[in-house]
Symmetry: C2
Subunit: 586 residues, 2 copies
């Protein structure tokens, strides 16, 4: 037997007991004739004591231990003289009688501490060492707890977890698929699922009524900062439901998670905001509502009321009011201007206006506007003495709003309004059914082609499809879309019409989604659902900026696992069996 106890469980009440512990050497300290070793495992740290006077040989052995060596000890639990309040085991120490080195360790390439000296690349290459760090391990524990609670909640609501296949067919609509060559079906490929969307709809046709699955999904996209080629979804679907049923059940799940995991009781209903309202007030379909600073449209106030050509030519002018920021220096304001001009944001410039202590307004466009107009501005913005008004404009309303959104978030950061321990949740509803794709020159489904239009907007499908709103909903927390879903189409004719609007020929729709369309002919129930991004949820609860640290073995921005050194070349024999030839274009 390797241990009687873990390194996290011994207390004062155990004093006098003889115990066996196993773990890693966190630290060795010599103090006079005593040697102290911090022994670590997943559960905590226990202090071991070796006394040179009592057993010189054993103490000499202990002095030779290196960081991360794996040892086993037998000893007696003893009350500490100087207790350590920061450790759960801080009241005791172990007087060691037997020391057994189970395995040695090379010196780790970085320190196994919360504040490690290891850079990102090194940490990823030695991820198995990185995971030993308290702060990273805690994320794995949190993830486990969250999935346990999700399952408990959904099980209690009658949901069945049903596994859908990983080797399915490729559907070129949407993001790029990862594909898997089939040896037994030469020249043919499986695809890995981008989500089990169509499969869960088939499960509803199959009468499963309430389905969920915590499931890996795959997208072969060019990776941005916070994307992974494989990610995990909490995927759910329900039959005989309307939007209200889905929203209420999954709002309940969010509240359950906040309560059980974070100890936060959310008693109020989450606000619901139409998509158009979210775009108008925050320039985003995932607004961070931990703070106000809503947009005010200023077309009436500033367009044509002065000689400023930029505003006079604008299709959209909007402002935000940063409370108490009139004291911003010229340098700070220049930095904000540089911020919005960065290529990722792409604005042309930024106009500001300070409300001074005497109530007058001093702006960067003073020469174009009278103080009267500026007072109108102050009043429209509901600004008071000491506030700073920031204004952006442009000829594309949506694009300008998105730029202003970035500025608002930056101001939120600067003013400390985005506290990671404060949570603000809401539902975004009434999404447009379609969005226009310049690239494709056609309407695209904003969510996916199976989304049900709002009943009252169905007539618009024939006359003005761009105006059709969908029974679609996203749950947003702190500016992060944590989940989203929709009521689905269950009527094969309506689905057919939808495909036509999306530019599918009948043949193409049949080829790609025939299995689903056919299934709908055999008594499909009304149904709808939702999918949560597990990685996002965990990183939100963990207070992480990136999803990477809540994934055990993440990939880097080139889609590589640097620890495993994957992907890699495969044997010619494997290629031959798959009937494949590699042909890399220069």
């Amino acid at each position: 037997m390797f241990r009687t106890n873990t390194c996290g469980e011994l207390r004062l009440a155990d004093a006098g007991k003889t115990v066996t512990l196993s773990g890693w050497v966190q630290r060795v300290r010599k103090m006079g004739g005593m040697t102290f070793v911090d022994l670590r495992d997943r559960y905590g740290i226990t202090q071991l004591v070796f006394n040179d006077e009592v057993n010189a040989e054993l103490c000499a052995q202990a002095n030779k231990l290196g960081r991360e060596d794996v040892i086993q000890i037998v000893g007696r639990v003893n009350e500490r003289e100087s207790k350590n309040k920061h450790l759960d085991t801080g009241d005791i120490e172990i007087i060691v009688d037997v020391l057994n080195v189970l395995n040695t360790s090379l010196t780790p390439p970085f320190t196994i501490e919360d504040n490690s000296d290891g850079g990102d690349d090194l940490r990823m290459k030695y991820r198995y060492l990185d995971l030993r760090r308290n702060c990273v391990r805690k994320n794995m524990e949190l993830r486990h707890q969250m999935t346990m609670e999700v399952r408990r909640y959904l099980d209690s609501k009658g949901f069945l977890e049903i596994e859908t296949p990983m080797l399915i067919g490729s559907t070129p609509e949407g993001a790029r698929d990862f594909v898997v060559p089939s040896r037994m079906n030469p020249g043919q490929f499986y695809a890995l699922p981008q989500s089990p969307q169509t499969l869960k709809q088939l499960l509803m046709v199959a009468g499963m009524d309430r389905y969920f699955q915590i499931v890996k999904c795959f997208r072969d996209e060019d990776l941005r900062a916070d994307r992974q080629p494989e990610f995990t979804q909490i995927d759910c679907e329900m039959s005989f439901v309307e939007q209200e049923d889905v929203i209420s059940l999954f709002e309940g799940m969010a509240k359950h998670l906040f309560k059980t995991i974070r100890g936060v009781e959310l008693t109020e209903d989450f606000p619901r905001m139409p998509w158009s309202e979210a775009m108008r007030l925050y320039g985003s379909d995932k607004p961070d509502t931990r703070f106000g600073m809503e947009f005010v449209e200023l077309m009436d106030v500033l367009k044509g009321t002065g000689e400023f050509g930029v505003f006079n030519d604008a299709t959209y002018i909007g402002g935000i009011c940063a409370e108490g920021c009139a004291s911003y220096t010229r340098k700070q304001l220049d930095q904000l201007t540089d911020f919005v001009k960065r290529s990722q944001i792409g604005a042309k410039g930024l106009v500001y206006a300070r409300v001074q202590d005497d109530g007058t307004v001093k702006s960067s466009v003073d020469k174009f506007y009278t103080q009267d107009v500026l007072q109108n501005l102050k009043s429209a913005m509901n600004a008071k003495e000491g506030d700073l008004i920031l204004i952006m404009s442009g000829d594309d309303t949506m694009r300008t709003r998105k730029q202003l959104c970035e500025l608002r978030l930056e101001m939120g950061n600067q003013l400390g309004l985005r506290d990671k321990n404060k949570f603000s949740l809401l539902w975004i509803v009434d999404f447009p059914m379609f969005e226009w794709s310049e690239e494709e020159g056609r309407l695209m489904a904003m969510h996916h082609p199976f989304t049900h239009p709002k009943d009252e907007d169905i007539p618009l499908l024939d006359t003005n499809p761009a105006a059709v709103r969908a029974d679609a909903y996203d749950m947003v927390c702190n500016g992060v879309e944590v989940g989203g879903g929709s009521i689905r189409i269950h009527d094969p004719e309506l689905q057919d019409k939808m495909f036509r609007i999306l530019g599918f020929t009948h043949e193409k729709a049949q080829e790609q989604f025939g299995f689903l369309m056919n299934a709908f002919k055999y008594g499909a129930p009304p149904h709808g659902g939702l999918a949560y991004g597990l990685d996002r949820w965990v990183s939100l609860f963990a207070g992480l900026d990136s999803i990477r640290d809540c994934i055990a073995f993440p990939k880097n921005n080139s889609g590589r696992d640097v620890m495993l050194d994957a992907p890699s070349n495969i044997d010619q024999k494997q290629l031959d069996e798959l009937n494949l030839v590699i042909n890399i274009k220069e």
Copy 2:
């Protein structure tokens, strides 16, 4: 709102209530002026009543309903006159006031009944209809319950569920990998995991201490009857453990499942049988111990004691005693002989001996042996009057034992000794470390190259590796291997030696498993684990002969999903992006 209740929950106590139900039309019956509709959902069946005299129009509508139409009704719960004891809702019926057809159904290609008229191929093509059948749906519910209980048990024991990546590196050792071409890393491939074996070992190096995962695994093998290219494993690993710790914990899990899912209390420890003993007594490393009929080796009794050349040349002669089967007719015995001569079994023949009512033995080789020898046979077999002794022999002990094993199982079937509601569990232990591969001309790892040899056998690695036994264990239930695992090597030098014995050059070992060997240099703890086959467990509990019906969307023997029609061709654009050319050899 689509329903106030499900079709499975209304009882006599609800009589008088007005309810709304939604579901599928299972059956429509006209009796006089009344029409009865059985309305079905996942939760049960509720009888609807339409009365021609009360509402002729509504009743006419009901008469037009077809099987599997989806309807919604509003009505009043009424006590039935003739109650149906076979239905949970059999005490009540609904007098319908409002009928709303939500969706119609074409006539299904087979009946949605437990005893369906649909063949396997049709059922798989329309799997979403097949899943509506009570008996198939129940398997999905069972699978959900089992995974919930597995998670509850392991969570209570401090295990963390940690997701390991699906896109990893290819390791040509072992079965064939499914590979995934990487677009971002031209010419390189990921592989889908055959199991998370090395990753869970890395998690132990990472100090995760107790890991589990219910996880999809992939093997590109030529599919036999009960294999699927993707299957699900309950994958577990623990640190600081010996074989005894792992066995005791997972025996506890099996008992927990039997108790919570099947209501069977298994109070005794599961027997443990060395592999060599299992081969000697049952000719199998997964013996069905629901019945005895153990092998008796008969070399002393029958070799050289008579003129029968087949036995006199044999390396192995073994028999089983089928109680009370002396009455088997010549035809039955011929059928048994044909059975063992089938190409799947490949025996040359079968010798039998009946113990007659007067105690004498009458055998098919009477002319070669004296009655004295046959009496010795009877006594060696512990056979009594009325028993039938069946004997097989050959020049390859293992092969002959496997043939005799098939015969034993067949006799178990014929005698009704393999009751699906009786469960007999045991551990097979002390597996050989290696087995000789004729094909490769070298020793191969019987489990995998990371298995720890028994401490006392380590010296044999240098002198007689074929004799080395491993710290490996399989859990067997009713002749099915439901799980297996081992203590792993955590010492890089021992691992190195193992790779050498397995014929790996240092370079090849480094190329394929370098990431693991390197990790072992940084303080790997002693560790071991086990993996259960979830599909097997569920089919065992469900009493199914195949794993297919406990998988929502299984593939056929060519690895095809006939419902999705996958795999399939992909666009040239996709191939180009992946730098691949298809080259099918004629």
